[in-house]
């Protein structure tokens, strides 16, 4: 088990808290964005879980709950023209990139108004119009796609970046190696973001991975490898910002390893026989990224409880609306089955 940084205690003065965390440099709108994004992801995935368990959602669904600080922190550094490449656990990245919750939920429900007209489902949501290159049902299937987007960016003379999210498990795929080497040797603007949530499905990270930190692998490609507390959105934001800026300056790719923990089962419905409830509970209680954010901004007196609650309520409402939309949306017509095999 990794040791997470302790969250700032309530004993410091608000001024001290702000200084310690360097909060002064954060515009209020950005802090609000952090919070709103994390909460939207959280309530979206809670709703998805609920509706999956109620039998309304089919297929395979993987929740991002507990890892919100990573997507929200990293993607806050990106513009619409930057690219992200996601995974099977993709709702969080997609929401953070600014996707429409209604079309996401409709897709998860398999409806015609969904992002993929109901043909993709949870594991295949994409929104090319906002640079979201797609979730991916193949673990490690996205590394090289991200590299290619960065290559295009470079050839087109733009200064956008391409961020690829991947799990600890995915780091053992050969595609990681090939993409990292190519990105490095061609100095491509790629940020490899490892969400090390300690598990690949049933398998604890250290039983399948030959290094302590995935970030230690970066040196083998001549790129920087940075480790960050993935449940501290401030740390994630700041470290990823440095690496993204570096990429934009044409200095090539880098790897950011975010240490986190998968508090939910691998997929909704996972019997989780491979770990104890105590192990999970400990993290939930002490290290929730949203709790930690709340403590920090409350301690720093940047937001009041009421203000936070209002944001929370509004995020929840958006998710409710998305759910309503998805439920009421129509199923695709059968003719859609045959459409779109070729462009």
């Amino acid at each position: 088990m990794i040791i997470f940084r302790k969250r700032g205690g309530g004993s410091l003065s608000a001024k001290k808290v702000k200084e310690k965390k360097g909060l002064n440099k954060y515009p209020r709108t950005l802090l609000e964005q952090f919070y709103r994004t994390m909460l939207t992801i959280r309530s979206f995935d809670k709703k998805v879980e609920e509706k999956f368990l109620a039998g309304e959602i089919p297929g395979f669904v993987h929740l991002y709950i507990g890892e919100e600080a990573i997507a929200a922190g990293v993607i806050s550094n990106l513009s619409r023209e930057d690219y992200i490449q996601s995974t099977h656990r993709g709702h969080g990245h997609t929401i953070a990139k600014g996707a429409d919750l209604k079309r996401m939920m409709a897709e998860i429900f398999g409806k015609k108004e969904g992002y993929c007209k109901g043909k993709g489902g949870s594991m295949h949501i994409a929104d090319l119009s906002i640079g979201m290159l797609g979730a991916n049902g193949v673990v490690g299937g996205g590394f090289n796609i991200a590299t290619g987007a960065a290559l295009a960016t470079k050839m087109q003379g733009k200064n956008n970046v391409s961020v690829v999210f991947f799990g600890d498990g995915a780091s053992n795929r050969g595609t990681f190696h090939e993409a990292a080497n190519m990105a490095a040797v061609w100095d491509l603007p790629v940020l490899f973001v490892c969400e090390n949530n300690q598990y690949a499905s049933t398998t604890p990270y250290m039983t399948t991975t030959s290094v302590e930190n995935i970030a230690d692998r970066a040196a083998g490609y001549g790129m920087p490898g940075v480790i960050v507390d993935g449940n501290d959105i401030f740390a994630v934001y700041e470290e990823s910002q440095k690496l993204i800026d570096r990429a934009r300056r044409g200095e090539g790719p880098s790897l950011l390893e975010c240490k986190t923990y998968r508090v939910k089962g691998h997929y909704v419905g996972d019997p989780e026989r491979y770990r104890t409830k105590e192990e999970v509970d400990k993290v939930c209680e002490s290290n929730d990224p949203i709790d930690r954010f709340e403590c920090t901004v409350l301690d720093g007196k940047l937001f009041s409880r009421e203000e936070l609650d209002a944001i929370k309520a509004s995020a929840g409402k958006e998710v409710e609306k998305a759910l309503e939309f998805a439920r009421n949306a129509e199923e695709p017509e059968i003719s859609e089955l045959f459409a779109g095999v070729y462009a």
Binding site: G110, G121, V138, G174, S201, T208, P271, I334, F338
Partner: protein, 323 residues
């Protein structure tokens, strides 16, 4: 006879073969700690130890490559592919190494290993988790490819595959794991390379395998009510193919339909059809009809997936068209 699930049948096969031969071991992703996605490895780690039931990294080239290396050096590995959809990751290992080593090295050493590949449609799993790609492997010399449709053959073919000295790919349909069927007590060995007449009939031969076999039998039931007598053949092995059984049946019935879940174009059905068009065309009183999936990736939404699927009704309808 006792009835057990397909999943239990594979488990018994593993258990018996691992007990019989200590060179047999199994590796794959997420098989030891939770017993496999379909419970197909449950209890094996406790009985045989984590050394013989190994959880691997998410490294399909390493899983298959290491199995090849171990097979070459005295072991008899079973490698689990998690989902058949991921076989593309290790396709080079499968077709350039595993399939060719015995021949290419002049027969010096065989590669006795089994690749277990859960395939097919289940649960709206969508484009990357629902595929039936067995046809690729029938086009690769050096591989044997088996694909049971019921618990008895699931057990019998897995045991035979483990004992075979050639590399064998064992497709097991995800939707079959929970189905039940009669399995004899004691040693069950299904022959590799032999199809089975699953139901006798006189008007038309219906060739199928895997999950689609059950649908074919249902189609035969429907048609029995319409006075069409369908002879159902369960291929069981798709490479090498048992031509004799198919040709003998068509000689009797004079009609042939082939049904499988995979997309029709370039599927196993094409080969069966071509064999009969080449060696038994004179038996035929009707066109050879194939029933398979349309030429699209597997869609997610329920109505689309439903429309994509081969069903007993679609098979029955194809057969009706021959009369």
């Amino acid at each position: 006879m006792r009835e057990i699930t397909f999943s239990q049948a594979t488990l018994e096969a593993m258990d018996e073969e691992m007990t019989r031969d200590e060179r047999v071991f199994v590796m794959g992703e997420d098989i030891a700690r939770q017993g496999g996605i379909f419970g197909q490895f449950k209890g094996l780690p406790d009985k045989f130890g984590k050394d013989r039931v190994k959880d691997t990294p998410i490294s399909e080239t390493a899983i298959v490559g290491a199995a090849i290396g171990a097979a070459l050096t005295g072991m008899r590995p079973v490698a689990d592919m998690h989902f058949a959809d991921f076989m593309g990751v290790c396709m080079d290992e499968i077709f350039n190494q595993m399939a060719k080593i015995h021949y290419m090295f002049g027969g010096q050493r065989s590669v006795p290993m089994v690749l277990r590949a859960p395939d097919g449609l289940i649960n709206q799993a969508a484009a990357q988790h629902s595929q039936s790609i067995e046809a690729w492997f029938m086009h690769i010399p050096g591989l044997k490819v088996v694909i049971p449709s019921n618990p008895a053959d699931a057990k019998g073919l897995l045991k035979s595959a483990i004992r075979d000295d050639s590399p064998v790919i064992y497709f097991e349909h995800k939707a079959l794991f929970n189905t039940r069927g009669a399995v004899p007590d004691g040693e069950v060995l299904s022959p590799i390379g032999k199809a089975k007449v699953a139901r006798e009939g006189s008007d038309v031969t219906l060739v199928s395998y895997s999950h689609c076999m059950g649908l074919s039998l249902k189609a035969a039931d429907i048609l029995a009510g319409e006075d069409v007598s369908v002879e159902c053949i369960d291929l069981r092995t798709i490479s090498p193919i048992d031509k004799e059984t198919i040709l003998a049946s068509v000689a009797k019935t004079t009609r042939l339909v082939i049904a499988h879940e995979a997309v029709k174009q370039g599927g196993v059905g094409a080969e069966i059809s071509a064999i009969v068009a080449e060696e038994g065309i004179d038996f035929l009183d009707a066109p050879i009809v194939r029933v398979g999936a349309p030429f699209t990736p597997v869609p997610f939404a329920r109505p689309l997936e439903q429309a994509y699927r081969v069903t007993p009704e679609k098979i029955a309808e194809a057969i009706r068209g021959l009369f």
